[in-house]
Symmetry: C2
Subunit: 290 residues, 2 copies
């Protein structure tokens, strides 16, 4: 554990540190974040430490993954608090670049991933995965670590990053970390801070409803469309409005299942609003074996 | 000079060799090519040797930068001949991956560069620079050399690659190599092999006409639009049809000049057809100083 965390803003200093670790035979892991850290992020740092002796967290609220109407301006920021939490979780270095350094004048390059980016979040937030893929590509090049850890909370994002890394031959392993939840099942998220007390009480029902859907799918007590429809009705009944989607998809490529039954490992994914806050969650679904 | 050139198809073997050179303190340079090598390519290999002790050439006819109606199927291929030429020019290693390894099933990632990709070739070959940026990003990740060398013959491509490398923080220096020409000024190109004897005689006039345009611009004997118009008329008169463009642009970002006079370092760029062959060429233009 490091009591004091080094904060680096300059890419050359970042690379020098990673290169020095490599020279000393020490593997390094990158944990990209947008800050406003919670136990979910810290679990990724701890997972990273099982993969590498050295852990770099990045903190960058990436404007390219917010649309004009979204919450870039109000997204929670607390670099000092984040640094203290990271130090406590055993992180070695925080890379916190300035936006002007990440996107200098004339920045014109974008990275996009077709197919796995297209459905679900891709339909509702068409700018989102392009912004994610672009900044993650840049972070991977700035911080040439051995592995990078991303949360399964953003499951589609994890698949997009994996596909990009494979397609372009990034020499970095991509590892997913399990979602960390509150006692009532609510997936930890920096955006949970937006919820009022009443909204917070409702929010926990998202995961309860998804878990029930998973149980029905795994025992084939309902076909896929019926389970999705019921979950949407339950969310609406609980006070979520609108429900952007509840969808059961192939766990590897987010392809839809042609039939009623989950015949391969799947994922159920949902996005729904409470008031002005948009929540997402997802759960693994085992293939049904009769 | 190496009499015998090692040919590598596997990315792991490629990286192992580059890493071994690096461990020995030897810099390496990458020269990406589509094969069908001529003196222009070999001049890039020689330039690369002035920048790094070790030179890797890649040979990959990249399907992503050809449109369906273009000449992917007939593009000249001669790997053995290319390997011999490279060995003679002092290249250390030829990386010649299979298309199936570069673009495996499910390949879904693309890299694109706005602005500098948009005019000229970008208007006429809208797929082209996306295909180039994607494969070059992948090659840079497969072959982590210190520098990469690209020919100024494809001037807009050179600017696209420079912008991509800067924007995404590729840890590689991009160097442009001067165009090598035949005795009559024709820029060397693998596609010159398509020309009949009569077409070859006409082809040399492209550079003669551009050089005349440069002389008029540098002495302000004609405004930019008049010089472009005259060059197009001369090309048409010489038998080029159609002339896709003759355009005078800012040398750094290919922006158009607002006035008549070249007030910053510029480039004159042209693309024109002879029969079924499309030729491109470009020349530097010095700013006019009264």
């Amino acid at each position: 554990m490091n009591a004091q965390l080094t904060i680096v803003r300059d890419v050359n200093a970042l690379r020098a540190q990673i290169a020095a670790w490599r020279s000393a035979g020490e593997r390094s892991a990158l944990v990209p974040t947008m800050g406003a850290l919670h136990e979910g992020h810290l679990s990724l740092v701890r997972l990273a430490r099982t993969q590498a002796k050295r852990v770099v967290a990045s903190l960058f609220v990436n404007p390219k993954q917010f649309a004009a109407h979204e919450d870039l301006g109000t997204y929670p920021r607390d670099e000092q608090g984040d640094a203290e939490k990271l130090a406590g979780a055993g992180c070695d270095l925080l890379y916190a670049p300035e936006a002007a350094a990440m996107y200098p004048p004339g920045f014109a390059t974008s990275v996009s991933v077709a197919e796995v980016s297209a459905p679900l979040e891709g339909e509702i937030r068409p700018h989102f995965f392009g912004g994610v893929a672009t900044v993650v590509a840049k972070l991977f090049l700035q911080a040439p670590c051995d592995v990078a850890v991303f949360g399964e909370k953003d499951y589609q994002q994890l698949l997009v990053v994996k596909r990009m890394a494979r397609d372009l031959d990034f020499p970095i392993g991509i590892i997913g970390g399990e979602t960390v939840r509150e006692a009532d099942g609510l997936a930890m998220s920096s955006r949970n801070a937006y919820l009022s007390e009443a909204e917070r009480a409702t929010a926990g029902k998202l995961n309860v409803i998804l878990r029930e859907a998973v149980a029905r799918l795994e025992t084939a007590r309902g076909g896929i469309p019926a389970v999705e429809k019921k979950a949407i009705a339950q969310l609406t009944e609980a006070g979520f409005a609108p429900v952007d989607y509840v969808s059961v998809r192939d766990a590897d490529d987010l392809g839809a299942f042609p039939g009623d039954i989950v015949v391969r490992p799947a994922r159920i994914l949902a996005a729904a609003w409470i008031g002005k806050t948009r929540l997402i969650d997802n759960m693994p679904v085992k293939a049904f074996a009769a």
